[in-house]
Symmetry: C2
Subunit: 198 residues, 2 copies
């Protein structure tokens, strides 16, 4: 039996994704072996993470200033918006360095089975920004699932009459993956969208 | 670039063993997606873990009451003490349910190379407890390393004249391990200490 405070820590930390009971136990023992300063820093980092983090009023990005640094960066392409499901996706796309436009966080995907309708998502605000900013292209970077595809189609229909081009990131064989392991769907898309080797 | 508060969280949590930058990023995104209550609970759990955890004045175990529940448990064998390096070891031994005596935390191993002498460890307090409590057997459950073995020998010499038996946990092939993978040292010990199959 662990002492009450350790047990409480282990129980709370096991609720984090990818942290099981054993890992949580090891973390508690490690924190106990460190000076008090260390546990204070961890504890404060969690509180600040949640309390001092805001959503950008323009794009919905996670930020500590509003508008967020991306919306505020005049060197970015101001006529392309990339639509993502959650703010976290922005971080992963930024890490690639392959997109220089603006973002728009939808906050979910259209899913009639789960009761999520277009009105529950940031679609009206997307339409307003697209017309207001004179956007030429909307890149729909959503999950490659039924819900993601349905939402992408909805966005295309919404923007078609505005003369805005809707694009999707290319689908194909993941970089570094063997043909055998690419999966039927990805392989089919990759073959249909094959490119000339130059 | 992550916002400052997320970056700080990621940096602090990457200092935990087994938590890399990627895991830490995922944890931050997960915590951000949860209600404030969740992050408050985590934060409090860390502070309490460190601040409200004491060491047992008798055996050195991690505890929230002094003496610890093990020292206080009159149903345990009061004439056997198991010597461990750290309080954490007690937890793993207790998990096995195979030891019913008392414990004594040394706080380290004798290691001249690292400047750790017998005086730096809880050896005097061990001697006092052994004579005071009328201990008959001291189980030395230390790491199976040069330092661990040297410390075990030191304890045996210290206790020899007191008529106290010093024992070591058996060494051999780990349960569930193939002969091929047991390792030369373990296999040699296992062969020397072979037991009759009854």
């Amino acid at each position: 039996m662990l002492p009450g405070n350790i047990e409480r820590f282990v129980r709370d930390f096991s609720r984090l994704p990818g942290i099981g009971r054993k890992t949580s136990e090891r973390l508690s023992f490690y924190i106990l072996s460190q000076p008090s300063e260390f546990s204070k820093e961890l504890s404060e980092a969690i509180v600040r993470l949640k309390e001092e983090t805001r959503l950008c009023s323009q794009c919905g990005n996670i930020t500590d200033s509003d508008p967020c640094p991306i919306c505020n960066d005049s060197s970015r392409e101001m006529n392309v918006i990339c639509v993502v499901e959650t703010a976290i996706d922005i971080y992963y796309i930024e890490e690639t360095g392959s997109f220089k436009g603006l973002y728009h966080v939808l906050g979910g995907l259209i899913s009639p089975l789960n009761g999520v309708t277009p009105d529950d998502l940031e679609l009206n605000s997307l339409l307003k920004r697209v017309t207001g900013l004179g956007i030429k292209e909307v890149v729909v970077a959503l999950s490659s699932t039924t819900e993601g595809d349905a939402t992408a189609l909805y966005i295309r229909e919404m923007l078609e009459s505005k003369g805005v081009m809707t694009t999707l990131p290319a689908r194909g064989i993941p970089v570094g993956t063997d043909i055998q392991y690419a999966g039927k769907g990805s392989l089919a898309q990759a073959l249909r969208n094959r490119e000339e080797l130059k």
